[in-house]
């Protein structure tokens, strides 16, 4: 199974820069303040060098959101994962190429190595016996059992029980081996375990009276490459190297996650050398060109799993007509949006699967900006232009609202271009934006919108199972369990989703999810714009940064970072 999920790639890299005199002095000032940068300002090229024998120096990583949830099994957001990756370990993780790499497990279970039964129901995991928790207690199979049972504990505020709820009869057969049975075959579980199921310490958490609140929640103990140091709320989190780490690294003594909420300020601090890396949400597109000219810094633009798209509510009047959806799609000048508003950085896409994934379906019909064809299509479908140039059919006008997060300037500009594009084909769009905490509440979850511009990571780690997004039983507005806010219903899609989740053979799964992508592209359940991207700044001399499309945050491998 380790190889059976194929490979993911990484987006293009753009490296630049030599510092000018002033910036050199600024970097030097940072070094004088205790940051181990000495000499790094001169390390301008990606010349190969080896990591140091022991941890050296400090990395200041800037994030635009504040990590606040440190129990890795509780509800948290992307930025919290930046801490989880440093403090905790997984049974296995997914590398940038899409491979499952053993971490706490000795090997990734497959049907070939006997870790998985042929029917996918029995899982046998062999664990490392040389791993210790940060407090010195040995890690054992009991910790894995405890973690999986905690997720399913009704008193525990677990983030998600998808996949975990199928786990039954967990047996610790040895301190370094654990077995369990699945209630039903569910192949995406491999990705779920390999993406965000961090293992927590039994010896600490079994003693707490309330699993949702304990000192552990604000001073976590893990088996990861960094130990908890200190947190200054609203400012930073400091982690220290775990010199007893069982894997590669860490190569820096400390990592400081600095919280800088304003993206302009974040970029300025990167520019003035106060931070070494700009993580989530990186550098704004309008600063990328300038950032590339900065000396002593490099900019890495990489793809993410998020797909920026227009989500139509398929139960809303005009959108129920597939001809309307196709005409609207033909009427979008996608490339103009990408070039004018996103500085040409993202690439167009036609599906919910990242183009680097093994499950990506090649050869899907490519979008073409063709307003003439869109007009003809609407004419043929009986949508006639009425007063004011807006089309209507059977008393229903082709007018609708479009919503997105207010304050997101680029998306708001996208809306302006869409208004113009769609006016040309007789569709009237009005803007109805809301703050994040409002729009992503009931408005989105209960399908109260007409259409929304949103970026969604549909993947479960590296798995393309989108049952919660496109399954008929996953429509919250109809009492379903999931996130099918599009209200997409297709018996064929349901069949393919059920089949894909039962299959363990990669070739079979690729066919199944390929068919699903063709179906959803044909039905235009969503109107994809482009695959997400992130531009991150890295100070010259900092080695080891590797974007990973299979994780939600690119500082997943700080353990491999070092100063050249």
């Amino acid at each position: 199974m380790a190889d059976s999920t194929g490979k993911f790639g990484v987006g293009g890299l753009h490296h630049l820069g030599i510092p000018n005199r002033r910036q050199f002095f600024q970097l030097g000032a940072g070094a004088a303040a205790g940051w181990t940068l000495s000499g790094n300002a001169f390390a301008q090229t990606e010349r190969p060098s080896s990591p140091p024998d022991k941890p050296r120096g400090q990395v200041i990583a800037a994030l635009s959101q504040e990590p606040t949830v440190f129990h890795p099994l509780m509800p948290g957001i992307e930025v919290d994962q930046g801490i989880w990756w440093q403090v905790f370990s997984l049974l296995w993780y997914i590398d940038p190429e899409g491979n499952f790499v053993p971490d706490l497990a000795r090997e990734v279970p497959t049907i070939e190595n006997g870790g998985l039964s042929a029917d996918g129901l029995t899982w046998k995991i062999k664990l490392r016996s040389d791993v210790k928790w940060h407090d010195g207690t040995p890690f054992t199979a009991e910790d894995v059992k405890f973690s999986l049972e905690l997720i399913n504990d009704s008193n525990f505020r677990a983030r998600s029980r998808v996949g975990h709820s199928l786990v039954k009869d967990i047996k610790v057969v040895a301190p370094d081996e654990i077995h369990w049975r699945m209630e039903a075959p569910y192949s995406p579980y491999m990705s779920i375990l390999g993406s965000l199921t961090f293992i927590v310490p039994k010896h600490i958490l079994e003693k707490v009276s309330d699993p949702n609140s304990s000192p552990f929640h604000n001073a976590p103990v893990g088996t990861g490459p960094f130990r908890w140091g200190e947190r200054v709320p609203g400012d930073h989190i400091l982690l220290n190297a775990n010199t007893g780490y069982h894997g590669k690294g860490p190569y820096v003594e400390r990592v400081v996650f600095k919280y800088i909420p304003d993206l302009t300020v974040l970029y300025t601090q990167f520019r003035t050398g106060q931070v070494d890396y700009t993580g989530l949400q990186g550098i704004l597109p309008n600063f990328v060109q300038e950032a590339k000219t900065l000396k002593g810094h490099k900019v890495v633009v990489s793809s993410t799993s998020s797909v920026e798209h227009i989500a139509p509510n398929l139960e809303f009047g005009p959108f129920a007509d597939r001809a309307v959806r196709e005409a609207l799609y033909l009427g979008i000048n996608k490339q103009a949006i990408i070039d004018a508003l996103y500085y040409g950085l993202p690439t167009q896409t036609e599906t919910f699967v990242p183009q680097q994934a093994w499950s990506f379906q090649q050869g899907l019909p490519q979008h073409k900006y063709d307003p003439a064809k869109a007009n003809a299509l609407l004419d043929a479908a009986g949508w006639v232009r009425g007063s004011g140039g807006v089309r209507e059919k059977g008393g229903v006008k082709l007018e609708f609202t479009n919503s997105t997060t207010s304050g997101n300037a680029v998306r708001e500009q996208t809306q302006q271009l869409l208004i113009q594009d769609w006016r040309a084909i007789g569709a009237a769009m009005r803007v109805n934006n809301m703050p994040a905490a409002v729009i992503w509440g009931d408005f989105w979850q209960q399908s109260k919108f007409n259409s929304v511009i949103v970026g969604v990571n549909f993947m479960l780690g590296s798995d393309p199972d989108v049952t919660p997004r496109f399954g008929s039983g996953a429509i919250p507005a109809k009492g379903g369990r999931g996130y099918n806010t599009y209200q997409y219903q297709s018996a064929e899609a349901d069949r393919l989703l059920a089949e894909g989740a039962r299959q363990f053979d990669l070739a079979q799964r690729k066919t199944t999810y390929g068919e699903l992508q063709k179906l959803i592209r044909n039905d235009l359940a969503m109107l994809p714009l482009f695959q997400g991207f992130i531009a991150e700044g890295v100070k010259e001399g900092l080695q080891g940064f590797r974007p990973n499309i299979n994780t939600s945050i690119n500082c997943w491998n700080v353990r491999e970072w070092y100063w050249a």
Partner: protein
């Protein structure tokens, strides 16, 4: 006097109850909630969200939630943050120091500079200095703090490289000089509007005093000008400033909110903004109550001081 103080205290308590009820209602009736931030996550399903919502008690009717919160608050339990599980009072206290540091520094700058400008302007009414001070104050009051903050960063950090572009300290340093170095720019930005206000109020107050008969009498008696100014004029001109100081707290807090965002200062202002964004109800309510208390206490102290200084107030 005791009756006056008790009366003012009773009014303050009533106001706090009203503020809490209105604040609670507005916050909870606003669309969205603490769990909406997880909506885009492929990991959490609607069922997961509903389960977590129930575990947090968010599925209960609003009045029940309010009474529960209010009852616990009276017992000193202000609840726990939805974001990090920390006790609200602990969350607030961990951010309070940074804000106080910024506000006190800005206030000291504003009071000293503002009073000097105001007194000098009043004594040299319509002079070049007075005109310049008036125009500068108008400009300062019109400049958005956010914009001024960004300009300050651009000039002093990006272009000149003299000051850090933000943060309260260099991680791992934290020496007094380092703290001071980081404090200069945000305190300067926050003090700008305050200085202008103190300057304007001080000028008016001083003008009013130096035109009084007793000043003229003092001059007629041949009292030295410096003595007239310091002993007679300044003391009386500073009296109305007690009220100004008491009422400045909300303005200062509002300014700190912006300055803290621009300068990545880990204070209450940023905590408040973040908590609203996350719909972290317990923390937002905690800050709201804390701020209301501070404003009321500030106003109460000003009133009492004024009543002490001017006995006519107590009767009125």
């Amino acid at each position: 006097m005791a009756r006056y103080v008790l009366n003012r205290l009773a009014q303050a308590v009533m106001l706090l109850v009203i503020v809490s009820a209105i604040g609670f209602a507005i916050l909870h009736l606003a669309p969205g909630g603490p769990l909406s931030q997880f909506a885009a996550s492929a990991q959490m399903t609607q069922e997961d969200l509903a389960r977590v919502s129930k575990q947090l008690g968010l599925d209960r009717p609003l009045p029940i939630q309010y009474l529960d919160w209010f009852g616990r608050m009276l017992k000193g339990d202000w609840g726990k943050s939805y974001r990090d599980g920390e006790a609200v009072l602990s969350v607030i206290s961990s951010h309070l120091g940074a804000t106080l540091e910024l506000m006190i520094t800005a206030t000291i700058i504003a009071v000293l500079l503002g009073c000097w400008i105001g007194i000098s302007g009043a004594l040299r009414r319509y002079s070049l200095f007075d005109s310049l001070a008036t125009v500068s104050a108008m400009i300062a009051l019109s400049i958005p703090t956010f914009w001024f903050g960004l300009v300050t960063i651009y000039v002093f950090s990006v272009t000149l490289g003299w000051l850090p572009a933000g943060n309260r300290e260099t991680v791992g340093d934290g020496s007094f000089l380092d703290l001071l170095h980081h404090l200069i720019a945000p305190a300067m930005v926050l003090a700008l509007v305050e200085t202008a206000m103190w300057g304007r109020f001080m000028r008016s107050s001083m003008l009013e005093v130096i035109n009084q008969d007793y000043i003229r009498t003092a001059r007629a008696k041949g009292m030295p000008e410096w003595r007239i100014l310091t002993v007679h004029a300044l003391r009386n001109a500073l009296l109305p400033m007690i009220t100004v100081a008491g009422l400045q707290f909300p303005t200062l807090l509002g300014g700190a909110l912006v300055a803290e965002t621009v300068f990545t200062w880990p204070g209450m202002g940023r905590l408040f903004l973040d908590s609203i964004g996350y719909r972290d109800y317990p923390v937002v309510m905690g800050i709201l109550m804390f701020s209301a208390m501070m404003v009321l206490i500030g106003s109460l102290i000003a009133d009492i001081l004024y009543a002490v200084v001017d006995p006519r107030i107590r009767v009125g």
